[in-house]
């Protein structure tokens, strides 16, 4: 580092600061993995009577979005930027074909080497050679000196992507039954769920959740495509991900004459309030394939509609008046009402996400990998020769490089 660089900049860009920041960041995120995140403050005060207030004060209850974490990351980014910019000047100098290191090491010396043999080796390995008749200096992979800088740039691009993502990304969940539509006003298109179904393993476990969508743009263009877990669909900057599913069950309430007086689709865990009788119908759960578990409780064996049942609880004026397990079409008689479910339909839960940062992040991954590869495998290698003595030099991997040169020069060919 240039001595004319202000002291404060030298300090801010130093490896010492980088290591301290990395340790602080690592410690902070370790705690984040050990504590439940985004809980109510009372949770921490109750669960950790001694440390609860400290946890809240240090924002460890929301470690990855807290101001402390952001400040640590900002300081680390600053350190990395300064370090990269400052070291780049020296690295560019080392790209010059006339640059050679000092070759002071006594450790990596090979004695009694024939001049012609060394030249042949260097030519074979495409070294750039400076030969003044007495001293030979040769170097290769000079660009490898940029490996660390490229890696650092990759990390900085990743941080930029992460910041853009945290500022601009948005998502929403859209639940759709077959035939349902959802409009995306800003993007100017509508999606229609043509079909949603599950495929099953022999064991009954779900193999895949598949939604088929038709996308209709405002100009009338339509496209139809299926999406499933690990195969999202992208349209006009939005990503559609198969994230969830559920069952909507068709409730019917009929009077003694058989005339349906109310009804509609309802989800498990939800209630329907029938005002004329002050009756609440609570669909506790829908069991596509029901089994009996411990304590004779109904359990869901699988999502295959093999032997479906509904668990229903009735409340009148807020008081429970009965609980039932009924099959589709089975009537629950309560006073002058017949309550029953005809069938259930699976609905899809799509996560719709807009995140402009992903291409930036993907680019950063590529830059980082290239940087690391150059840094560790295409590092600069130098050789000097004078009077039968060869000295090898490589900052990255001196011993292995020396052994390779030694064995190549020892080879009779």
């Amino acid at each position: 580092m240039n001595r004319r660089t202000p002291k404060i900049i030298r300090f801010a860009s130093s490896l010492k600061v980088a290591i301290v920041l990395l340790i602080l960041i690592a410690a902070y995120i370790v705690i984040g993995t050990l504590l439940p995140q985004h809980g109510d403050p009372s949770l921490y005060l109750e669960r950790y009577p001694r440390a609860g207030s400290l946890i809240i004060a240090l924002s460890l209850d929301k470690a990855y979005s807290s101001l402390i974490f952001r400040v640590l990351m900002a300081l680390f980014s600053l350190n990395l930027t300064l370090c990269t910019v400052i070291s780049m000047k020296g690295q560019v100098k080392q790209l010059d074909k006339g640059f050679f290191p000092s070759f002071q090491s006594e450790e990596f010396v090979i004695e009694d080497v024939e001049r012609e043999k060394l030249l042949a080796y260097c030519n074979r390995r495409r070294y750039t050679i400076a030969d003044d008749g007495t001293v030979i200096k040769a170097g290769t992979y000079r660009f490898g000196v940029l490996g660390a800088t490229i890696t650092h740039i990759g990390i900085l691009v990743l941080f930029i992507g992460a910041v853009i993502g945290s500022r601009s990304a948005s998502d929403e969940t859209v639940n759709l039954l077959p035939g349902n539509q959802h409009r995306f006003e800003k993007q100017g298109f509508t999606i229609t769920l043509d079909d949603f179904h599950m495929t099953f393993q022999e064991s009954g476990a779900v193999q895949q959740y598949i939604s088929t969508l038709t996308i209709t743009d405002d100009d009338g263009t339509t496209t139809s495509e299926a999406l499933w877990v690990n195969k999202p669909l992208h349209h006009k900057g939005l990503g559609f991900y198969q994230a969830n599913f559920g069952w909507a069950s068709n409730l019917q309430i009929a009077d003694d004459s058989g005339a349906v007086v109310a009804g509609g689709l309802m989800r498990s865990g939800y209630s329907y309030f029938y005002q004329p009788s002050h009756l609440t119908i609570y669909l506790y759960n829908y069991y596509p394939e029901m089994g009996i578990g411990h304590q004779d409780q109904p359990v869901k064996m699988s999502e295959r509609e093999i032997d479906p049942y509904y668990a229903v609880i009735l409340y009148e004026f807020g008081e429970p008046v009965g609980s039932y397990i009924v099959a589709p079409g089975d009537h629950i008689h309560y006073k002058d009402l017949h309550i029953y479910f005809t069938h259930s339909v699976a609905y899809t839960g799509l996560l719709v996400r807009k995140d402009l940062s992903y291409p930036i992040v993907l680019t950063s991954f590529i830059i980082m990998l290239i940087g690391l590869f150059i840094s560790f495998y295409l590092y600069p290698r130098f050789i000097s020769y004078e009077g039968g003595k060869v000295v090898t030099s490589s900052r990255r991997n001196g011993w292995v490089f020396h052994q390779n040169v030694k064995s190549a020069l020892a080879n009779k060919d």
Partner: protein
């Protein structure tokens, strides 16, 4: 049938590794120098049988054995032994086996305690990225185990007189450990990146601060500090050896501890 082949070859491979570890221990105890060759051959035989066990699992399950704790432990141990044999092929340091094979034996012992039932892949795991992500994790973890073993040798050798050293030159074990860490670090970077790309496809987010991915990042930070200190501050010897060992402790916690102690979207590996 495949399960039977898997079970039998797993046990025999385990036995071969135990015998190999004992042979290498005899070698480093200077009781006999000739056992190194036999030790390498029994290790190789163990690895062949280990590979057969994994192949039987692959054929029986219809996919690579990468999807639960048993399968990953089976593959992890395979990665450790493979790394050792590759290093032996390059540098002929068989004595390292006395320290690295016990790690493979422990991981296989851990595998044998896990549920071995073959289960079909859940939807989130049905991706080409599974092979890439877990495959590179095996190479990465295997390398870190090897680096840890070499670092232990360095620490032992640094207290011994030259005639009692396990590897003739402690500097060599120091450099070898560094070389292996570099490879493991490259692979770990690919593991994290491939996991992020996969998460983006499956869950719409490339990073969610899940305990498994967070601990992978912590491991990455530990090794990044190690590499920076080594390359910029010329860290050698004991400091570097201890750091390599600490890094491997973090690897083990990421592999076992996170699964047992912390709720994670990677919980399906149980």
């Amino acid at each position: 049938m495949y399960q039977r082949i898997e079970n039998v070859t797993f046990i025999i491979a385990f036995a071969f590794y135990v015998v190999s570890a004992l042979l290498f221990l005899i070698q480093i105890s200077k009781l006999s120098k000739r056992v190194e060759k036999v030790g390498v051959l029994t290790t190789l035989a163990g690895l062949v049988l280990h590979t057969v066990a994994m192949a039987a699992r692959t054929i029986g399950a219809g996919r690579l054995p990468f999807s639960n704790q048993y399968e990953f432990a089976l593959s992890f141990a395979w990665g450790i032994v493979l790394s050792f044999l590759i290093l032996f092929a390059l540098y002929r340091f068989g004595a390292i086996g006395a320290f690295v094979l016990p790690l493979a034996i422990l991981v296989m012992g851990y595998a044998s305690m896990q549920n071995k039932t073959v289960r079909p892949l859940m939807p989130a795991l049905q991706s080409i990225w599974l092979t890439f992500h877990v495959g590179t994790a095996i190479l990465s973890y295997g390398s870190f185990a090897l680096a840890c073993a070499i670092s232990v040798i360095y620490l032992i050798d640094s207290k011994r007189t030259s005639e009692h050293k396990i590897l003739a030159e402690p500097e060599v074990s120091d450099i070898l450990s560094y070389r292996v860490v570099v490879f493991g670090f490259m692979m770990l970077t690919i593991v994290i990146i491939s996991g992020a790309i996969w998460a983006q496809k499956a869950w719409s987010r490339y990073w969610a601060w899940d305990p498994k991915e967070t601990w992978s990042l912590i491991t990455w930070i530990i090794y990044a500090i190690y590499l920076h200190m080594r390359l910029r501050k010329n860290w050698r010897g004991k400091h570097a050896a201890w750091f390599s060992i600490i890094g491997f402790v973090s690897v083990i916690f990421t592999f076992v501890g996170v699964n047992i102690l912390l709720p994670s979207i990677h919980s399906y590996v149980n």
